[in-house]
Amino acid sequence: MERKALVAISVVLILAVAGIAAALFIGGGEKPITINQKGSDTMLELCQVWAEEFHGEYESISVIVSGGGSGTGITALISGTVDVAQASRQMKQSEIDQAIAAGITPVEFRVAIDGIAIIVHTSNPIEVLTLDQLRGIYNGTYVNWKDLGGLDMPIVAYGRQSTSGTYMYFQETVLKNENYTTNMQQMAGNSAIVQAIMNDEGGIGYVGIGYAAKASGIKILNLSKDMPSLSYSPLDKDAVIDGDYVLSRYLYLYTAGTPTGALREYLLWILTDGQPIAEEIGFYALPDQIIEEELEKLE
């Protein structure tokens, strides 16, 4: 009795395994292609919308996007666990060396433009800051708004957490690699900063343009390189794209080697049909000349 049952079970199991193998073998040709992508949280929403729209047009290719930060995405690309990394900063030389040591040549694509907005409370009379003044605020030189011609009120600086790509970009560009003041409040995300500034009359913070433009109850400051007379707003598209606005930056996608096949289709689509979507999300589209430069990398 028992032996019969055993034989029956074994037969069923063998048949099942054979069936699955056959199904895989036959269906192999039509298997959908999946692109794995990971990285910057600033770009997460943008990339998810891109992935969805792209899948709508190319049904056999799906793109799975996750966040975790620029550094995490780049590390995943180097270790070969993802096909694409999204990053709000360029790869560091140490990361490129690491990739080459692992046998991977990272290829960089600029995919959109972001302007980092400096925001304050609506009651703050300051309208313009120079880059030096901004550096002074974040390295702790200025502690009261009256030092900058504002009200007599302590400055409360808000920033991102130390592992964010935006934190690093700001530290490089504004602070020239000096340390942030230890009094800076580290917030876990762009919207947390907006939320804090809304309620803090002495507050100042930096966020991606998409977050500042959509928010109400905050004031976006103009920035100038040195003289207050030549200041630009991050809402001024041309100033951000031309780099007249000092805190404009590219957003990047990185692939391991020159992309081919489905991955090539995907990047091609982002650089063409994907550009208006970037504007809808709150970033800026690349100028035509940059698009052509990037498309050449796909040849």
Partner: protein, 308 residues
């Protein structure tokens, strides 16, 4: 005679079977409990093995006593967790100062004094406090409580240690109340009756008999709720402003160890020194909460002995 024999054999058989099932159940339960112990050791081993590179390359003493936590500085990365220890201590201390008197008062009232009708409303209300997710408390602190604190103290930093401490106190109270109420309820009725028989008033009975008898449980409840405060993450992350500075000022922004791990682990480069240093912070936190739990156990045992 024959029938009796048969019955005896059957009985023996049944006994043998029940011994068999007993051992079987014992083994299953042993395995289940071993899983817990194994999980604890696995966590312990994982955290400490990941933290080890940080301890060796930073230096354990330097790691514990360094005054600056700035792991991503481009010029001079520093991995001193003293500001984080200080932040955790300040917030937990503030929370304990607020929560312990309220918690104990609440427990005594609920367990001994409250009218059953009031109790039937109050107790579930306190228990609901325990069920609210910590992120909701954090959001409340971030948006509303911080404004109140600014209105009262007219301070510079909206997000500060006091903000977190008040929120943590609210989260500690339900744990403390439900654990210490249990301790008070388990004081034998005989003791109360004996006190009343000696002519003690309700207050004298409470102060002289019931509370001393339940003290071990109450003390353990306090320790465990402090453990909860030390380990709480989301609320302090949102409420305290995250500035790793060493300060005694409750109105200053601080960063706790848990908040540093939560806020930085998401984007840290895998296997970098910073990554291992965060595990180092986790290891220190592990030791602290472990110590608090052991102290709670010792207190429980000691008071229990004194009482018997």
């Amino acid at each position: 005679m024959k029938a009796g024999n048969k019955e005896e054999i059957l009985l023996q058989e049944r006994r043998r079977m029940s011994i068999k099932t007993d051992t079987f159940i014992k083994i299953v339960l042993l395995c289940v409990s071993l899983v817990t112990v194994f999980a604890l050791f696995a966590v312990f081993f994982f955290i400490f093995s990941e933290a080890l590179p940080a301890f060796t390359s930073i230096g354990f003493v330097e790691f514990l006593s360094g005054h600056i936590w700035n792991p991503t500085s481009p010029t001079n990365p520093s991995y001193g967790i003293l500001p984080l220890l200080c932040g955790t201590f300040l917030v937990s201390l503030g929370a304990s100062i607020i929560a312990i008197p309220i918690g104990i008062g609440c427990t005594i009232y609920l367990a001994e004094l409250a009218h059953p009708k009031i109790k039937s409303i109050l107790k579930p209300a306190i228990e609901i406090l325990a069920g609210i997710p910590s992120v909701v408390y954090g959001f409340f602190a971030l948006i509303i409580l911080s404004d109140w604190i600014v209105a009262v103290f007219n301070n510079t930093y909206r997000l500060n240690a006091l903000n977190g401490a008040i929120m943590l106190a609210v989260m500690m109270i339900p744990i403390m109340v439900s654990l210490s109420e249990e301790a008070i309820n388990s004081v034998p009725q005989d003791l109360r009756e004996a006190a009343y028989a000696l002519g003690a008033t309700k207050w004298e009975t409470l102060r002289g008999v019931i509370i001393p008898a339940a003290l071990s449980g109450i003390a353990a409840a306090i320790m465990l709720s402090i453990g909860r405060a030390v380990g709480e993450t989301m609320t302090v992350l949102m409420a305290c402003g995250n500035t790793p500075v060493i300060t005694w000022d409750m109105l200053s922004s601080v960063q706790t160890m848990t908040a540093a791990i939560a806020i930085e682990m998401g984007e840290v480069n895998f296997n970098s020194l910073h990554y291992h240093a965060l595990f180092g912070v986790g290891a220190v936190l592990f030791v602290i909460t472990f110590a608090i739990n052991i102290i709670a156990d010792i207190v429980l045992a000691k008071f229990a002995e004194a009482y018997h």
